[in-house]
C-alpha cells in the first residue's frame, strides 16, 4: 500500500466517495471503491472506520439483493448511535411516516421478510387513511426502505443498513402498552 501518507490520501478519497451523493442512492458500490482507491479498499475502509468512530459515524456494507461479494455490495456511512425523534423530524420526516415505516418493518420481519401489499395495507389502514399510506409507501420505496416486487412488499436495502430489525421487534414486544404516554 505504501506510506502512511498514501493511506491517509486514499482514506480521504474513500470518505469523499462515501459521503458525496452522486446518484439518487447514497453510498457507493464496492467496485467503484476498488476502481478509485485500489484493490485493498476493504483495508482502507477498515482504517477509515476506526477514524470515523470517534465522530460517532461508521461504515456499513449492505447487499441490495442477491449479491455475495463486497465488490457488488453498497457501502455507506451511517451514524453510530440512534438519533432522537426531534432530529428525525428536523430531517424532514413526519411522525406518521415514521410510524408507518416502523409498523411495516416489524410486520414484514415477523413474516420472514416479505408480505403481499394487500396484507400490509390492511394492517396500516387501521390507523391511517389509504391515500396517506399509499403516498408514504411510495416515498419509502423510492428511498429504498421498502421494496416492491409486483404484489409483494419486502424490507429494502436501506432498512437493512440503517435499522436494527431485531431490536425493533424486541422493543415492540416488550413495550408496556398500558403505560404509554
Amino acid at each position: 500500500m505504501g506510506s502512511r501518507k498514501d493511506l491517509e490520501e486514499r482514506a480521504r478519497r474513500a470518505l469523499q466517495l462515501l459521503l458525496v451523493q452522486r446518484h439518487r442512492k447514497p453510498g457507493v458500490k464496492g467496485w467503484e471503491l476498488r476502481r478509485s482507491i485500489g484493490k485493498n479498499y476493504l483495508n482502507i475502509l477498515e482504517y477509515l472506520n476506526e477514524k470515523l468512530d470517534s465522530y460517532g459515524l461508521c461504515i456499513r456494507m449492505v447487499y441490495e439483493s442477491e449479491e455475495t461479494t463486497p465488490d457488488q455490495a453498497r457501502f455507506l456511512v451511517t451514524v453510530k448511535d440512534s438519533i432522537k425523534i426531534t432530529e428525525a423530524i428536523s430531517a424532514g420526516w413526519r411522525i406518521d411516516e415514521l410510524a408507518i415505516l416502523a409498523a411495516s418493518i416489524a410486520y414484514i420481519a415477523s413474516r420472514q421478510g416479505s408480505i403481499s401489499s394487500r396484507e400490509l395495507l390492511r394492517l396500516l389502514e387501521v390507523k391511517f387513511p389509504s391515500w396517506f399510506i399509499e403516498a408514504t409507501l411510495r416515498r419509502l420505496i423510492r428511498y429504498g426502505y421498502l421494496e416492491r416486487d409486483g404484489d409483494i412488499v419486502k424490507i429494502g436495502w436501506r432498512s437493512k443498513a440503517e435499522i436494527d430489525g431485531g431490536k425493533l421487534l424486541e422493543l415492540l414486544v416488550k413495550m408496556d402498552v398500558g403505560s404509554e404516554g
Partner: protein, 259 residues
C-alpha cells in the same frame, strides 16, 4: 379400446392441469413467504408420479421437472421456516399485528428512531460543480439569440388557392379514397401474378411519388386491406394480399432520398 381413449386423454389433461396448479402454488408460497407447510409435498409427489407415468411428450417431462424443482423449493422454504421460527428473532406475526394496532403512532415512531442509525451523506454543491456551472452560465447565449433562429418573415401568413396548393404538392387534387383504390388495384394486379410483391418495387418512382405511395400503402396495411411482411432471409419488406398477424404492430421503414 376406442371408447376408453378419450377418457384417458381427459384424465391426462386433468393431471396436467393439477401439475400446473401445483407449480403456481409453490411459486406463490415461496414468493409471499406464507407457511410452506400448507403445501402437501407427499401428496404432490404422488400426483407427479401419476403424471410422469402418463407423460407422452417432451413438454410433459419438462413440466414434471419444473414441478419437482418447485417442490424442492418448498422443502427448502420449510427448512428456513423452521429455522426462523426457532430463532431468537421469531415473533408471531399476529402478536406483532395486535401490538401495531394497540400502540400509538407517536410511540411507533419513537421505537423506530431508537433503533435507527440514518445514513450520513452530503447532498450539496461542491466547488468543482460550481466552477462548471459558472463556466456554463458564461458560455450560454441569451435566450433571444438561441430562440431567434427563424427570421420574422418566416412567421408571416401566406394564402394559397386549392390549385396552387395542389401544384406545390400540399394537398391531393383527387379524392383520398380514389387514390387509395387506385394503388390498391395496382398492388392487387401485381399480386395476381405472385404471392407477394416487394415493398420498394411498389413505392418506387420520384421522391414525391415514393412518399405519396408509402403514405397510401400505410393506410391500406393499417386498415387490413393489404398485408406487410418482413423476410429476414432477404432483409426486405413484402406486400401481401392480407395481413398474416392478428396483433397490430407499428413498424418504421426508412426511405432514403433518391432511392
Amino acid at each position: 379400446m376406442e371408447g376408453s381413449k378419450p377418457i384417458s386423454k381427459h384424465r391426462v389433461a386433468a393431471v396436467k392441469r393439477e401439475v400446473e396448479k401445483l407449480i403456481a402454488t409453490c411459486r406463490l408460497t415461496v414468493k409471499r413467504g406464507v407457511d410452506p407447510f400448507q403445501v402437501d409435498v407427499k401428496g404432490s409427489l404422488a400426483t407427479l408420479r401419476n403424471f410422469i407415468e402418463s407423460a407422452s411428450s417432451l413438454d410433459d417431462i419438462r413440466l414434471d421437472g419444473e414441478a419437482l424443482y418447485s417442490l424442492s423449493m418448498i422443502v427448502e422454504s420449510q427448512d428456513r421456516w423452521i429455522k426462523f421460527r426457532s430463532s431468537r428473532l421469531f415473533v408471531d406475526p399476529i402478536f406483532i399485528e395486535s401490538r401495531v394496532k394497540a400502540v400509538s403512532s407517536k410511540m411507533l415512531a419513537r421505537i423506530l428512531v431508537s433503533c435507527w442509525t440514518p445514513t450520513a451523506s452530503i447532498d450539496t454543491l461542491t466547488l468543482p460543480m460550481l466552477d462548471l456551472a459558472i463556466d456554463y452560465w458564461n458560455k450560454l447565449k441569451p435566450l433571444k439569440g438561441r430562440w431567434g433562429r427563424f427570421s420574422r418573415g418566416s412567421t408571416e401568413y401566406l394564402s394559397f388557392s386549392p390549385d396552387e396548393a395542389s401544384k406545390l404538392g400540399l394537398i391531393y387534387d383527387k379524392g383520398f379514397d380514389k387514390l387509395l383504390s387506385d394503388i390498391e388495384d395496382y398492388v392487387k394486379h401485381l399480386l395476381s401474378v405472385k404471392d407477394r410483391v416487394e415493398y420498394s418495387e411498389v413505392i418506387g418512382g420520384s421522391w414525391v411519388e415514393t412518399v405519396s405511395k408509402a403514405y397510401l400503402i400505410s393506410f391500406l396495411v393499417s386498415s387490413g386491406r393489404l398485408g406487410l411482411v418482413y423476410d429476414p432471409s432477404t432483409d426486405r419488406f413484402y406486400i401481401t394480399s392480407h395481413s398474416g398477424s392478428d396483433t397490430p404492430k407499428s413498424i418504421a421503414i426508412s426511405i432514403g432520398i433518391g432511392e
